[in-house]
Amino acid sequence: MFYQTRLRTITLILALGFLAVYASFGSYFAREIVIEITILAILAISLDFCAGFGGMVSLCHGAIMGISAYAFTIMSVKLGLPSVPSAMIGLMAAVVFSGLVGWVTARTSGIFFIMATLAFGQMAYTFFFKSRWLGGDDGMGGIDRFNLSWLGVDMNDALVFALFGVAVLLLVYVIAAILLRSGFGRILSGIHSNENRMQAVGINTANHKAMAMAASGLMAGIAGILAAQHTLYISPELLIWTVSGEVLLVVILGGIGTLIGPVVGAIMLVMLKHELSNYTDYWHMVVGMVLIFAVLAGGRGIFGQIEYWLITRHSPKTPHLPPAKEKDLA
């Protein structure tokens, strides 16, 4: 069950602060890293929402992101709509697709759910890969970023866009946190804990899970719009299942079911990747070892483990993690 604890709020502020400072005082390259982190972190929050709190370990989040990016690009580039309505349609496409995936797969669980989502993701990937109108494997270019000149800022500036990404990350975190601590989110946690009993007290769990997937799809869709506007170009590579795999890795590395953990995981993975690739082409192996260590160390992930230490140190006699004190989202 989700609680926005003081530790989580502090970690959120530190993480977002770090990204903002790193972008502000870093090189162009640093700004690119920051935007890469924010996209990955948003997608990881989206996945943690359904996997960490609803038990739905999806392997199609890359595809959901890609569908949003494609729908956005089709509207703005192919049909010439302004970027804001295009983005809205992109988000709607992501919500509809993920809601549909959720609705169809709601009666499955565990490995079958994972495989079903993988199949949906691959279908979406193949569709865009084969579609000549959408550029096939070459993808599409010609995307414009949102026009924020009325705010006096130029989105084509790398720093402005990186800070925009950080702001969107904060927005997505707040959306996820509000949903998770609402009645809807509490019931979702209940379904994760014991679906059978949740039905016995009168919840249509299949519908609830489908709605949770749709909400998760909204967040993944936001990552898709940001990704399309970042590279100004999209291709079916966004939808490949390894993208979804990497997001899952980030969620586990940071701490599944903690919401802020995935943000920490995204920062760690991208930073590790860029730092290590200066020294070795085998950086994947180092990341792999870090992941194995994180899993062996109790599966709580990096943030999850630190949170566990801090809580058990303050109340060593409590054998189980007590519920954290609820702090309002300020």
């Binding site: 069950m1 609402s182 009645g183 809807f184 209940g190 007290v201 009168g202 054998p319 993690l321 007590p322």
Partner: protein, 255 residues
């Protein structure tokens, strides 16, 4: 309140419930007795909609609910506690009761507001905790409390939905004598606006709380009456003590 007519259930070739009819009045405490395999738990599955009956009908509060699924039946006010604990593990007792109460009051559609600290919910959680004597354990994890406490919570989850009809499947199964007293008290203090159907193996408890008793054997109703009549009934004695002509024995390999 509850009217069961000619209810039957077959699993493949095995008939587990056979042409069962009975009526339970509003506010009544009805005990279901019967040896292992008599079909008591299957009857609860049929009443809650977890299993579909092969034939027959079930009416609740004047409405035919035979076609309703489990979720719809929960929503019309039928709640159930399980023979084996079926709780929300890895959560606290407060969170467990909150989930049941939130589900029953339609708060699963609250997308922005929290339900844990909401006034109505708080009252309901605390009231239920008091009913099942778990007030002091509210903020403990389910995994950190005793087995007896978990049995109390099992009933608490059903009560938190404020049901009109409560089906209790052996609430005292596996608990010690002291805990049985707790359950005895609990059952006696529950308000009469809840109708209770209870499967119970502790005879003292069963006979002292029951208004009427229905005895099942091999899926059939063999007796129904007041506790006094039940005690004196030769068929019931035969089922429970064995012997006689061997028609009702201790060996029972029916499902």
């Amino acid at each position: 309140m509850l009217e069961v007519k000619h209810l039957s259930k077959d699993f493949g070739g095995i008939t587990v419930i056979r042409d069962l009819s009975f009526t339970v009045n509003a506010g009544e405490r009805r005990v279901i007795l019967g040896p292992n395999g008599a079909g008591k738990t299957t009857l609860f599955h049929l009443l809650t909609g977890v299993e579909k009956a092969s034939s027959g009908s079930i009416s609740f509060a004047g409405k035919n609910i035979s076609k309703m699924n489990a979720v719809e039946r929960a929503r019309v006010g039928i709640a159930r506690s399980y023979q084996k604990n079926n709780l929300f593990e890895h959560l606290t007792i407060r969170e467990n009761l909150m989930l049941a109460a939130a589900a029953a009051t339609g708060k699963s559609r609250w997308f922005f507001r929290d339900v844990i600290n909401q006034a109505d919910m708080k009252t309901r959680i605390e009231e239920t905790a008091e009913q099942v004597a778990l007030t002091d354990q509210l903020d403990l994890m389910v995994s950190a409390v005793s087995y007896g406490n978990r049995r109390q919570l099992e009933v608490g989850l059903a009560l938190a939905t404020k049901p009109a009809l409560l089906l209790m499947d052996e609430p005292t199964s596996g608990v010690g004598p002291a805990m049985i007293d707790t359950f005895h008290q609990l059952l006696e203090t529950l308000p009469r606006d809840i109708t209770i159907l209870i499967i119970e193996h502790d005879m003292d408890l069963a006979f002292s709380i029951a208004d009427r008793i229905t005895v099942l054997n091999f899926g059939e109703k063999v007796f129904e009456g007041t506790p006094e009549d039940t005690r004196g009934n030769p068929t019931v004695r035969q089922i429970y003590l064995g012997g006689g002509d061997g028609t009702y024995g201790a060996t029972n390999d029916h499902a």
